[in-house]
Amino acid sequence: MNSMQVRNELPLQKKSAIKRPGTSSSAAVLLRVLCVSVVIGAFSSPAFAMSGRDIFEKVHEVSVKGLDHEITMTMVLFDKGGGKRTRTLTSYSKNASPEAYKALAVFRTPPDLKNVGFLVHARTFSDRDLWAYFPEFKRVRRIANNSQDDSFFGSDLSYDDFTGPANLDDFKFALEREEVVDGKPCYVVEVTPRTRRKYTKYLAWVAKDLWIQLRIEYYQDKDIYRSGVFKDVRIIDNIPTPFKSEMENRKTSHRTELTIDSVKYHTQFSDDLFTQRSLERAGK
């Protein structure tokens, strides 16, 4: 039997014994992808010996290493009729061990969104406190953690894409096959959430040598409703970083292009950056 056809469901007991942080389905889209550290050569087991869970633990492992960052990015939203809107934002993140992580995203443009901010304190990878700040109201607002799959400020990315890795135990993984994407060999892993989400599953194309996703497809039952590709992968401080990403909503034909304008890793920000006070000051 061809290993590519094998649905590799290795026993989970050895992994579940360790409460490891995970990578949510859509978190793979941005933060996890952007934060992924390369561990080239660190993984020497034969590919066919890996399960979907193994692969995503690897993805997650390198993701966490890249959590300390400052990234400035531009999102361009294209609607079906050709209309275009642009948002620029800066994302700050910090590995907050023994807690999970802290993250702050602040919009720089357009004028309507300038200095709108979004703060995350993740006590664990599945337990997060969220706050939003809208300068026009001058108030920081606590947000319930139930909008994780909603569109992030009109884009085709979700809030979850901006809130860091989630818990692997919240998902089931199955290695589907292997494929080549943009000349890079990839594992194709089916990821199914254990709790009710907007999607019923997603397929992730994980690059074997980089442990980042190069392609993703979200399904609602049998239909793909959202899909994305990650391109222009550059190694920054040993961290593979896709400088260009594109996510499309197949149902509405709306798509979002995301370009990284600048990136700094190993930033080791002070906790002071991830406070309500900092949120009100747009991270300044």
Binding site: P111, D112, F137, R139, R141, N145, F153, G154, T252, R277
Partner: protein, 462 residues
Amino acid sequence: MTRLRSGKRVIGGHFAALLLCVAFASASHAGDLFSSSGRLDLHGAHALRNDSVEEDPSLDARIKLDAAGAAWRFHAWLEGGWDGSVKRPAAGHAGFKNYDEVYQSNTPYLEFKELYVSFSTQALDLRAGIQRFAWGRIDEYPSNDLLNPWDYAKFPRQRLEDRKIGVPSLSASVTRGDWTMETVWIPVFVPYRLSRPDERWSGNSAATLRQIPDSEIRVREPDLPARTLENSAIGLRLKHLGDREWTVNLFHGYDPRPVFRSTALSIIPAGGAIEIDPGYVPDFHRITTIGVDAAFVTGSLSLRLEASYVFNRYLNVGHEFWGYPASPGPGTYPLNTIEQKHDAVDYGIGADYRLFEDGQLTMQAQQTVTRGNVDLLYERKIETILWANLKASFLNQKIETNVSAAWNPEHGDHMLKTDVWWVFSDAWKAGAAYAAFTGPVQSYFGRYSRNDQIEAELRYSW
């Protein structure tokens, strides 16, 4: 003369600040240190009732300038334009709004909503200048949010933050771990601003007098409290962050809510017209409030709570006790005392709930319990406002909608506001809105019952 001199000082200060802003604006593309943004709004309203005061189109502009260094920051928010909701001659109009008058011209106007410098260290924030504050947790009517008086010229068509008048003030906050202590000192008394009786958003307080044909109602400016140290205002806030955030608030200063004292009604024929002095002027009283607020998330709900105890709040008695003659003719009529002092308790709860993707429902219930004998007041012993807001976006936020409804069960008055925006681009959006108010003439929403309207707005942002 005193008022004129202080007004000129304010204008001079504003002019210097304006020059500073222009200088910053010209340098605003020099790098990350400076930034600027702004917007232009063209707005028109069509009154749906024949007995309503008409409104001209409005053109408003706002520009925000920021300059930030490592520890220092400069921020300016200048607003100006032509407000079509007011009708008054521009004679004696100084351009900049001042802190000396309750009834001010908005045709045209300039105003610094914010203009301050701040200095920050790891634990300390110091800020000096014209500031607006947002204390409390409840939307629309937070009972602990007393540091800024409101401009009622467009109330209730403005959002809470747009109603607030920036006040010259000093503020300091110290943060240590999850604790923040904030102090605000407002050395200069700033009065609230009101519409004149012949303006669109004046309410119905002079409705009887407006029925006199060929008459003009001329309100008088009040004598403001002396600008002394004793008349300054102070606010203290102790905030604790955590899973359940809570804050203790203290305010001591002049009540930002409008209240009137009586003089004498005079109806004087002058030439072919009749001049009416309605016999009341805005009044100002010091209050002390102590309050708490809290916020936390439970399940799918984000909850906000707020309560305050107000000492020595002055309220007006019902209009039927003011002493207006039933059939007023030319002459002078002394009016009754129309103010009463009461303590009051305000409390409320608000909840945000995600109804669907890009659709958030906010529900809020607030009550005010007025202590003492309230027999002469229009307000009942317990007054309630139930308020709900649904904010929803569609087509990846190409369409933005907002529906608000409020109901005061004690008097049966209510309000409905709804607007829809189409976002053309990052810079351009256009919207249409509808607002309706129903209820008894003295009630919170019913006083605007002549003001049902549809609106159109075009906005350019940069």
